[in-house]
Amino acid sequence: MALQVGIVAAFVVLALRLWSMQVVHHEDYVRQAENNRERKIPIVAPRGSILDRHGNVLVDSRPTFSLMVNREDIQDEAETIRILAEEFGVSPEYARQQLRSPAAKVRPVEVKSNITDADRAKVSVLDYEHPEFLVELRPQRKYPHGELACHVLGYVAEVSEAQLKQPEFDYCRPGDKVGQAGLERFYNRLLMGRDGYRRIIVDSRGRFVREIETVPPVPGQDIVTTLDLDLQRVAEERLKALKLNGTIAVIDPRNGEMLALASMPGYDPNLFAAGISRADYARYVNDKHKPLRNRAIQDIYPPGSTWKIIMAVAAMRAGVLKPTDRLLCGGGINVGGRHVRCMGNHGMPSLSTAIAKSCDGWFYRLGIKLGLENLRTYASELGAGEYTGVDLPNEFKGYIPSLELKAATVRRTMPNATPAQYRWTDADSVYASIGQAMVRPTPLQMLRAVAGIAMRGELHTPHFLLEARPTSEYPRVTFTDQVKRIELPDECWDAVIEGMWAAVNAGGTAAASAIRDPETGFEMCGKTGTAQVVSKLKASKLEERDHSWFVGFGPREKPEIAAISLVEHGGFGARVSAPNVRAIFEAWLRKKKGLPVDSVSAPPATSPKASLPTKAR
């Protein structure tokens, strides 16, 4: 009897267990059963194209097939990795790395992009035994012009684990390809669209049984940029011909639209689109010329004499300078027990002449009159050491002189400095007045300031977005330009602009680069800069040569274009950078007249004729 009782008791336990599983926790098990057999296969949304202002394609996507592996369906990882290596030529290290990535937990991961028809056939042959291999149609980013405008356009790559934790990419999922630099990153949300998916039923081996539904992807928006492909080409070719690092940026001063931005050296965004190899990436990152850096916004330089324009406007804003004031050049100044030279002796020049001749002595004395506080207030007002607000990621702020900066410098260079040495001195004012010492804006900040001055105090936000074209799902998006006004009497603007006009057109420092265009009467105004890298008069090595600067705009009245050229270690501003800006303006003029702009490959500092287009396309 005891035995029967024991057996019945055991059956009661089984019945209770069945009741607990099938009645109490039923819903939970149903959910698990559903998860077991349902697979959601993402359909990647086509990324929006990027166009120049005239509709030329700068970036688009083309359909490619990728080999994917679904980790859930792997029976034997070693076997899968072996097949990947032997049949598809995927390195075991890369396969392992992809299979262990966080993305692999939630969706199939890409192990090979751009696969051939033969590869696709192999996948279908392997399907029964190895359902973990999938072929996915994945639009791949294509940059038809290669390195052209790479720093503006940026590149795409899979979103990293760290990025997913940041608010910038909180809407992304592991495995998504997102913009990692440039416009691709800044406007990633507009470009990316929304992935669709297929929900399918699979069996225990992950083999397809039937489809439940397909939700098509929503394509991203096409972006029309403010770039002008022709001007961009000219800018890049000018820099390339110099075989030096540097940047050229072109802006429409009336509205802040960026017509071109070149930074040398560049990189090929196509390499990233296909999944960049470690070796290629390491080469870019470790290159001492830093090709991934956008020099116009991610590098800071002493602006040299181009800074004098900002000094002049700042001093008039501070009320320490009237447009009619004449200051002494004196061939230099004695300050802090040393004599700091001017390049010549200009007597008692006016503001315009001081700018045109780039008289250092004049600006030394202005710098002392202005003082640190006024310099900080009014130079920041013109955007020096401030973010320009450009629609590109990771813009540098740069800096202008301050007591903290001085203290930091003293602490670094003179460990045993007395308190007196921490004080701001006239010598500091003198060096700062000509854009040396602690003055470090980005080239784009300089361009924005000069464009604003050309517009007589109207500063726009530089930007590349003309519009994101509307689709059925998304509305049109444009850039909201923040306009900043700096009030000064007309005579003040006249005097500065007169100086910049004379620098080019009336025997000033950039006289060799004057444009004479009788048809339109276009005249270039500008200011050269030759920024010392080391305090040595005669530099022998390339790294010790001065940076060559030129900022310019035109026409003199009602300006329509402004540009900056910075060539690292390029030497005199007038000899290298001024011709660059001139070439840009000439190309722009030709376009304006409806003439074709041929690719101009002008060697540096040649005669003006060589930089003119020779033949129609």
Binding site: L3, A10, Q22, H26, Y29, A33, S204, V209
Partner: protein
């Protein structure tokens, strides 16, 4: 009592048992037919599980009816030869058996599939042990009897362990122990051994068994522990895709069945082939998924009826040998059902023993039907002798 012998035979026949057996065999065929639609199973109709099972049902029923007519004295006489025959088969399988999943448990048998000698050895052992235990002196069992029983039991156990098939080897012990206890062992012995077992078994497990377990056995015990006390732990990736896979998939099948089940061929777990061995050892998960709580409790009720009925018949038997055989068989049946169902619902570690009358597999079906034939045999004679 009616006049004709023939008439009385059919009137006294064990109809309730036959009905229960037939219902269970029918359910088995229905379920096997249901999962034959699943991908990855054999495609030719004559290779399908339901068809093979149907053939074995035919053989099993014939054996069942033949056994009901046997004179039990002849069974008693034949017991040593049956035992010797099954032992020979067990020995043979080690040399000529086919290897499946690293185990050599089966002998190939043409269109009928395979033969599993260990199933027959269980019956052979029960018969011989019952024969040894039948003579009962005034002092109860002698040491010689016990020693002989130990040898007779351990021989097939050792051979089965060679295959290796630990689960089946374990099933030899409960019937033999029950038969010994039913042989008038003094009550102080029963209590003493039970108490000693209660105290010693944890120690035995920790110091003797546990260190000798293979890693997969340890993992299975671990999974069962989690299935009972921490079901959520089964879902972490390593367990879900590793050693916990079968238990978890089986539990999902059972749980998702609900009260009425997902219907014939409606179980996603069974039809998707998510549960390994869902035709054999895990057929209960398919029943639970497709026919729900109602179906699984119905099957359990039928099985319980057969077990209690066997116990009942054993108790009414007027002869020690048949009583011991039936008791042994009843214990074996109960052990199989409880452990197999326990495996399916995650209460018992997976040890790979079939669900009698339901799991696909001819040897188990034939052995069970022959044993039940003995039950019907004794039932029929309940008024005679």
């Amino acid at each position: 009592m009616k006049s004709s012998l023939q008439e009385s035979r059919w009137r006294d026949f064990d109809w309730p048992l036959l009905v229960a057996i037939t219902l269970l065999c029918g359910i088995s065929l229905l379920v096997l037919y249901s999962i034959d639609a699943a991908p990855g199973e054999a495609t030719e109709w004559h290779q399908k599980f339901w068809f093979k099972q149907l053939l074995w049902c035919g053989i099993g029923y014939a054996a069942f009816f033949w056994v009901t007519r046997l004179n039990f004295q002849r069974v008693f006489d034949a017991a040593p030869y049956i035992y010797a025959g099954t032992l020979l088969l067990l020995l043979a399988v080690l040399f000529i058996g086919v290897k499946i999943n690293g185990q050599r448990c089966w002998i190939r048998l043409g269109p009928l599939g395979t033969l599993q000698p260990s199933e027959f050895a269980k019956l052979g052992t029960i018969l011989l042990v019952a024969r040894i235990l039948r003579p009962l002196g005034l002092q109860g069992l002698t040491w010689q009897q016990l020693a002989l029983v130990a040898v007779v039991t351990l021989l097939p156990v050792v051979l089965t362990l060679q295959q290796p098939d630990t689960g089946t080897a374990l099933t030899f012990f409960p019937p033999v122990l029950v038969m010994i206890f039913l042989s008038g062992i003094a009550i102080r012995w029963v209590v003493g051994v039970s108490l000693a077992g209660l105290i010693l078994s944890p120690l035995l497990f920790v110091f003797l068994i546990e260190p000798r377990l293979k890693q997969y056995q340890r993992d299975r015990i671990n999974v069962t522990w989690n299935a009972i006390f921490h079901p959520e732990r089964l879902r972490d990736r390593q367990t879900r895709e590793g050693f916990g896979y079968q238990t978890l998939q089986s539990m999902i099948a059972v749980g998702s069945g609900g009260i009425l089940g997902r219907g014939f061929r409606g179980g996603t777990q069974s039809q998707g082939g998510f549960i390994p061995a869902h035709h054999s050892d895990f057929i209960a998960s398919v029943i639970a998924e497709e026919f729900g709580l109602v179906g699984s409790l119905g099957v359990l009720a039928l099985l319980l009826f057969i077990i209690l009925h066997s116990a009942n018949v054993a108790g009414r038997s007027r002869e020690r040998f048949s009583m011991l055989v039936l008791a042994g068989h009843m214990t074996l049946l109960a052990f199989h059902v409880i452990v197999n169902f326990g495996m399916v619902v995650g209460l018992v570690p997976i040890i790979g023993i079939p669900l009698p009358l339901l799991s696909a597999g001819g040897s188990s079906l034939l052995m069970t039907l022959v044993s039940l034939g003995l039950v019907a045999n004794v039932y029929e004679r309940r008024f005679t002798n």
